[in-house]
Symmetry: C2
Subunit: 452 residues, 2 copies
């Protein structure tokens, strides 16, 4: 793995300035495209264009595949439609090709496709561009090796050789019938190491069991789930008629898994757009503003709640406002997080709402009793007075139990209506629990103060 040191980058920059093309080319062709992409990430736009022009076309295309979207778009904009079609798209997998141009203006896409020489390739690409983002269809590649069940082993090997020429990695060989219907997988191991006779028919040696496949409209989370569960290196995509359309490979599944987990993490942290630490100040600000606005709306509502309970008469109540608000939010987030994860790995089912709430009631009561006991003891010892200590303790128990139930209930309901439950863990639950916690606190305070 290449270590991108400062020294190394400076050496490259000096070579670029000095125009040492041969030296640079010799250096770059030894690198993995993913490493070159990392270098591009550290250099300036002009330096990248310079280096890109030095790369052999195949390597250049592979580097484009590895680049971040914005860097790639910059480099692509310096190429003509014809260059993109013949020097880039022609040299990469169909799924990468579709990804690369899918965000371009409609007209530019058509122009690029018109320059593709191979008709089958063009129609594959058009096909892939039609699938919605987030579906199996948008993730799949058209490149795969398939053989007919009626072929003999030697026919099959001949055909495989021909097909494999265009494919970088042959993970799985798919067996189809005369109607292109997917029947099963042929194990390379069985084919080459099991030494079947060359005249055996494929239908007698392929594996008919354990065939998992998805439809192009299935969502990517389902794809990842299936590939994880069955440890699949590639997953075939079929249409309603069972015909083989393409395949999704493990590396795409890993990318999806990484993206989904980043997204959930950001949502839980109150970040509403997919941002990275090296995005612009304005993008980072914009991604963070929505939660802050929700938080402010909650804060103003909180001011009204406190105002309504006439804090002037009992100003001591103010002391524990932060505690009550914080605990409501914390418990709510914890409960929601467990449900969200359970939903993500399908261990929680939405039809078990009642059961789940009963259990959460138990957890809430247990946590609530422990916390209430501790705070009662602590505030008595710290001489906050009996009335206030009792108020805080009782209110805390109620707030924790309520927040636990609320934090469980909301994501389950969201999921039932097909809304991303991860939305619930961040701003919404915290803010709502803050306010409801305050109401409970002042209600309990009002009751207790009449007793003393």
């Amino acid at each position: 793995m290449l270590e991108l040191t400062k020294d190394y980058l400076e050496k490259l920059e000096r070579a670029i300035e000095a125009g040492k093309d041969d030296e640079l080319r010799r250096e770059l062709v030894e690198l993995h495209p993913a490493d070159i992409a990392e270098i591009f990430d550290e250099l300036e736009g002009e330096q990248n264009s310079y280096l890109y022009r030095l790369l052999p076309k195949d390597l250049g295309a592979d580097v484009l595949v590895e680049l971040d979207d914005d860097l790639r778009d910059k480099l692509l904009s310096s190429l003509t439609s014809r260059e993109i079609a013949r020097e880039v798209l022609d040299r990469i997998d169909s799924d990468d090709a579709a990804d690369m141009i899918s965000e371009l203006p409609e007209q530019k896409i058509e122009e690029i496709i018109s320059h593709i020489e191979d008709e089958a390739q063009a129609s594959d690409l058009i096909d892939l561009l039609n699938y919605e983002e987030g579906t199996a269809g948008a993730l799949m590649a058209k490149e795969l090796v398939k053989v007919n069940q009626n072929w003999t082993v030697s026919q099959c090997i001949r055909e495989m050789r021909r097909q494999a020429a265009d494919i970088e990695h042959v993970y799985t060989i798919y067996v189809v019938d005369d109607q292109e219907k997917l029947l099963g997988k042929l194990s390379l191991k069985k084919l080459f190491f099991g030494s079947p006779t060359t005249r055996s028919l494929i239908k007698d040696i392929y594996n008919q069991r354990e065939l998992q496949a998805v439809l192009p409209e299935d969502d990517v989370e389902t794809v990842v789930k299936i590939m994880e569960k069955y440890d699949l290196v590639a997953l075939p995509v079929i249409n309603e008629a069972g015909q083989l359309l393409g395949r999704i490979t493990f590396d795409d599944a890993m990318d999806v898994l990484r993206e989904e987990s980043d997204k959930d993490y950001q949502l839980a942290s109150g970040i509403s757009e997919d941002v990275e630490s090296d995005d612009s100040v304005w993008m980072l600000t914009r991604a963070r503003l929505p939660w802050l606005l929700i938080g402010m709306a909650g804060g103003i509502t909180g001011a009204y709640v406190i105002g309504a309970f006439d804090i002037e008469k009992n100003p001591g109540m103010a002391l524990f406002i932060p505690l009550i608000a914080a605990m409501g939010g914390n418990v709510g987030v914890q409960s929601a997080a467990i449900v969200v994860q359970g939903l993500a790995n399908k261990s929680v089912k939405t039809d078990q709402i009642a059961k789940r709430l009963m259990k959460e009631l138990g957890v809430g009561l247990l946590n609530g009793l422990i916390c209430a006991a501790i705070i009662l003891l602590a505030s008595m010892v710290l001489s906050f007075g009996t009335a206030l200590s009792l108020t805080v303790s009782i209110a805390l128990l109620a707030v924790i139990v309520f927040a636990a139930l609320f934090g469980t209930f909301i994501p389950l309901v969201l999921d039932k209506y097909n809304i991303d439950a991860a939305l619930a863990t961040g701003p919404f639950i915290t803010t709502a629990n803050d306010i409801i916690g305050l109401i409970i606190y002042f209600l309990v305070g009002g009751m207790i103060s009449t007793m003393f």
Copy 2:
């Protein structure tokens, strides 16, 4: 993919009660081990033991690999050491075997190993058990196909056939020299589809470039990072001398990625142990208590802060306590989350603390100014009075800027000292920012009140 319906499970349960062994066996052998594991997850312990005994040994062993730890341990405890050695471990991959018994008591492990017949297998297992959890060594399997660079193609194919017999998936063929030193990979595609002559030497056809490998002590996050970056289906593990020790496959990398992301998500949500929604009430409570205790300690500190500023003289200040506390916490969590993710995918480097803080200052100022302007306008319109409106607005700006810097700084420092930065996003940042936010708020309030 098997749909586990209620009907299906009930049918199985009835068949178990009626002792319809043949029918059950016929049903189960058609299923994928991962599906059987899912069934076991839904049934009772006794039903599982019953079904397990019905399974052919190979399938039974595969099901054990797929099971959750606690279910597996229950089933294993009903087997003798000899049965575990000969009917389970002998039939699964070395990495799964090591996982399966690594948590058992030392003595039981030794007993099991003493029953393993194949000495090489036993020593592989002992070897794997020695690596610390969370390292590449603990993740790797010993099963792989390797060939010597000096062999001819036909010799190589003969050897590969022999080696592959014991290996479920042959993803990569490794090329070594006479000292077992890893030299490169041999592409199956080149070997079978490239049609080299049978007398070609391996050293003339294998791929010497692009060889990624890790040491057994490298941590699993590095492993996942490399496999993601280079889209590797398998990653070789070598020792300091460069000798090939084992390989890590993509499915293990995906499992690690899933676990790490679950862990980070839980930490960010204030859950301190790895729990799942179907764990016991007590385990769920215990995992959530630490954050709640930190939150309470913060709340009590907050009470002292408010008490110190003599709220009785200016009780209106109480109204916006929730707003200030919530906003400090929110901004801190947002900032920390972006740094934590940046650290995780290596786009943030710890040596750039100053640069990162400058940028965060920009984001904080921008967010702070927007929020301060909104709250000033809102609280004036809502007639909270000039002094209070000014106080909240100025304090909010200061709190947001401070929380943004603090939320960025803490995870960077933690990472510098090799502490998991994800720890920072949950309880710690929120609670600290709550308190510091309150202090800022009351300081600003004190100054403003002297002016009016």
